[in-house]
Amino acid sequence: MPQRNHNCCSNYTRSEMLRASAAQAGKGLPAIETGMPLPAGTGLSRRTFLSRSAGLALAVYGAGKLPFAAFEDGIAHAATNGRILVSVFFDGGIDSMSVLAPTGHPQYAGLRPTLALGPTEGTAFAEDTSLRWHPSASPLATLHGEGKVSTFPAIGYTSPNQSHFTSRHFYEIGELEVGARTGWLGRYIDRTGADDNPLQGLSLDGSLSPSIATASMPVAAVDDVTDYDMYTHGVGDPVAAPMYNSFGHFGDLPADSEPMGQVRNATAQTSDLRELLATFEGFTPPVAYPNTNFGEKLSGLAEMIGRGMPLSCVTVSAPGGYDTHSDQAQSFGNNLGRTCDAIYAFQRDLEARGEDDRVLMEVWSEFGRRPDENGSAGTDHGAAGLAFVIGTRAAGEMVGEFPGLTSFDHDDNLLWNSDFRGMYCSLFEQWLEEDAEGLIPGASGLPRYTLVS
């Protein structure tokens, strides 16, 4: 078992870099503290001004928030091991039999009279030649060829639930009981995070993913990281700064009910995030991205990673919906293509920046779909589904196998042979270097898969 030692940097080089930048920021402090006016422009606080002048948001972030004695400690804490896990969600239950199509199985064409992939469509899957990548997944096929994609052709869990909401909830909370209030990544953030860093759990969506819901640590949702201003008509210097301060104070007061607690937390986090992202404006990515909203999100994420912002767990929804009860072929390839193209560009971007060895992506959906298509050229809810782990450090090996089309579970669905909770435990232990015990209920009894090379 890896050691639980999260108060200490495990990466020497990174901690040295942070120490140096902290010292640099510290040097700037006295000159600015002696009553200098705040920089022009609404809402730019001393802290963000400092971070701009030091050029490193992370270092000054720690410095501005923590008492001096905790200065270096705080930065080391926020940095942990510098590794980032990006969780990408296919919403609605993606049809695994259309992503990795079992064209080599004789029953396939009969089960999928209108939806089956032809025997020469797409790209062969090297680890099991009875499967073929969907043409829109060809960027993944390329990365797979480079050993950067681990596939789970039949991921699932005991007694598969065919409700979107229940099954998705299981994946989000990392257990098979309903009702938990924290996400599987949220519990990791609660254990290792800092109480002043909302970027440690970041949803690049219009709302927070339940996977990063924490009990106590701040987390954030930002739809567009380059656009987080909070404009007010007719308020500028010198009134703006105290206005934003008072807004933040609303969040710092004690709460005497759960809804008041929600308001306070969201207010405090919004206030902190506004200051953090004030430094984050336009940029040019080193590689070309597809011109899609999802591409922009991943390109912004790569830029944040490149700037050393204190990220740890990131969630994002893939474009489109995969609850394809009818006319599946219409939307499926387009949505899958938009997703895979952007993931590919993100990986190449990280490689170009030299950050690819500290980022791993995990791609998931709440379930797969029924092997036989329904009467509406679509597919109903199924059981075993698909997951990927993608990145330079991914082991690149298939986990489990395609379960075949000759025997199904008692609801006539694909049989699962890898457990999503085992994937979570393995990611914690091999990638984030945290003992999964206490993060995933029943961790000691769950399988481990080799996911990181």
Binding site: H233, V235, V239, S246, P259, S326, D380
Partner: protein, 543 residues
């Protein structure tokens, strides 16, 4: 036009009447005969966030009216834990009336809460739950950014604006609020429906049926064109069943997933119910799109269906029979676990903490003894002590926006509310999925920023331009500045800690000594910032 003028005259008359009653709310100012001048003799503060003036009308102006004092802020009391079933017996004043309007409507119009409080709890609740006649829309008609009427069936976001306008202006706010409840309950989205008109028709179904029988409502939803498209009921045929609607009918609409200790239904119940629901279809043409939604007996399975029946069901309460499509919703409502599901779900829209077991059982028995009637259950919830004594509730984004517009006295005059609603996590007619909006997750950094911007837009018409506007009072002090901002927002009751924070801001918004050219603009900025801060304060995010 004559009608409008008449209505306006009537409104002025009504206001005048109320004005002269001592203790009634003093604003907005009514027009007075020119020879009469208001003299403020003094103020009373009952502690509900609104200071009342004592006035006399005289023939000469008052030389030095006494300054209006700030209202006493609210001392927070810890919310009570769930109460036994019963009717709330505590005081019913402006604060309680505001809470009722926040939960059962879209907040108070300017000055409305005081009048509602005077009616007393029962009359106040029944004025909402037993509206007479057709709803009246009072106030200026909505329009888009170019001043044109809305096109709710045709243009993106105009459906949201159309409904938001009803929320702001309807004389029957509870009907709109209940329609919103059922829009969330039977959550259907434009994402899977061909025409916005189908969605608007569905919302009218909710308006018409939201206080009647839940059985009638559920049967009507089952054959509603928007729902038939959204959950593929129109593709559910006897030889090719599509189980999408059958599953959500049980899981989300009538019974609930994961019931303890015994699940309400099995996968087999879903598949059998899907067969029972077969037969609905529609035509399609390039001119009309999807139309002519109808039941086609030739597409309906006439086999026996084992719904909640036999060994493959957790509840073996029916024979296997040749059930028709409209039997299926009825069987779901007759299921032993339906009534408890219904009342708990309905409760959750009005009260943030779950009901006690005796409250749940009492509500379920009201529901059952009234043949699935919704109104009696709503009335019992709106009079329950938990609503008034329990914790506050995070306002859904659209309720927040509509309340803000009502407090400001502003109508729907910009399309911004549609995209701001989307950003804040609630664009009407676009729920995130069939389970509706997640009421536990209205607030995060992304959505709270959207609410900030909502406030910014709401104040756009009334903010003070520091540099190009008329000169702002260059001598305004700390307390009158806060008083003015509170007045702008119709005196929302503030908790003491927020009141103090605002006072502290008001006192420190700019340096004590200013150049003469700064005095007016900086005070205008302070006023704008105070209004922004009040509107985004926890007191207004909660209701």
């Amino acid at each position: 036009m004559a009608e409008v003028a008449q209505l306006a005259r009537k409104r002025r008359k009504r206001k005048k009447k109320r004005k002269k009653r001592p203790g009634a709310q003093q604003q907005p100012q009514p027009p007075q005969p020119p020879q009469k001048y208001k003299h403020v003799l003094g103020y009373t503060d009952p502690g509900d966030g609104l200071v009342r003036e004592t006035v006399e009308w005289r023939d000469t102006p008052q030389p030095n009216p006494p300054p209006r004092p700030l209202p006493t802020p609210q001392s927070p009391q810890p919310p009570a834990s769930p109460q036994p079933f019963g009717v709330y017996q505590g005081p019913f004043g402006r604060l309680q009336a505001k809470r009722l309007l926040d939960r059962a409507g879209f907040g108070a119009r300017r000055g409305e809460a005081v009048g509602l409080a005077q009616a007393g709890l029962q009359a106040a609740v029944q004025s909402l739950t037993r509206p007479a006649g057709a709803a009246q829309l009072t106030g200026p008609a909505p329009h888009d950014d170019d001043g044109n009427p809305l096109a709710p069936a045709d243009r993106w976001g105009h459906d949201h604006l159309w409904w938001l306008d009803r929320m702001v202006r309807s004389s029957q706010p509870l009907v709109e609020r209940m329609a919103l409840v059922f829009h969330d309950w039977f959550a259907t989205s434009n994402a899977g429906v061909e025409r916005q008109q189908h969605m608007i028709d569905q919302s009218n179904l909710f308006r018409a049926g939201c206080l009647g029988s839940f059985l009638t409502l559920t049967v009507n939803v089952t054959k509603d064109p928007a729902m038939l498209q959204w959950l593929n009921g129109n593709e559910n045929r006897k030889n090719a069943p599509n189980e999408n609607y059958a599953r959500e009918l049980m899981e989300l609409f009538t019974l609930g997933a994961d019931r303890e200790p015994t699940p309400a239904y099995t996968e087999n119940d879903i598949r059998e119910a899907a067969k029972g629901l077969t037969g609905w279809r529609n035509d399609w043409s390039p001119e009309l799109g999807s139309h002519n939604f109808r039941f086609d007996p030739n597409r309906h399975s006439t086999a026996n269906k084992a719904i909640f029946s036999g060994p493959s069901s957790t509840f073996n309460v029916n024979p296997a029979a040749n059930w028709n499509w409209d039997d299926v919703p009825r069987l779901c409502l007759e299921h032993p676990l339906h009534a408890s599901f219904f009342v708990e779900k309905l409760w959750s829209y009005f009260v943030p903490q779950p009901p006690s077991a005796d409250t749940r059982d009492a509500l379920a028995s009201i529901y059952k003894s009234n043949a699935y009637a919704i109104r009696p259950v709503v009335e019992a919830i709106l009079m329950h002590p938990d609503l008034y004594l329990g914790p506050p509730m995070v306002k859904p984004p659209v309720v927040f926006t509509a309340s803000l517009l009502r407090a400001l006295g502003r109508g729907v005059d910009t399309e911004a509310w549609a995209w701001l609603g989307d950003m804040a996590g609630q664009q009407l007619f676009w729920p995130p999925n069939v389970s509706g909006w997640d009421d536990d997750r209205w607030l995060d950094t992304s959505r709270l920023r959207a609410r900030w911007l909502t406030v910014t837009w709401a104040l756009e018409e009334s903010y003070f331009d520091p540099w190009n506007g008329p000169d702002y009072d260059p001598a305004e002090e700390r307390d009158p500045a806060l008083e003015k901002a509170l007045e702008a927002l119709d005196y929302p009751p503030l908790r003491v800690e927020h009141h103090n924070e605002l006072l502290s801001f008001s006192g420190n918004a700019f340096p004590a000594s200013l150049a003469s050219w700064q005095k007016s603009p900086y005070r205008a900025m302070r006023q704008n910032a105070l209004q922004q801060l009040i509107a985004i304060s926890p007191d207004l995010l909660l209701g």
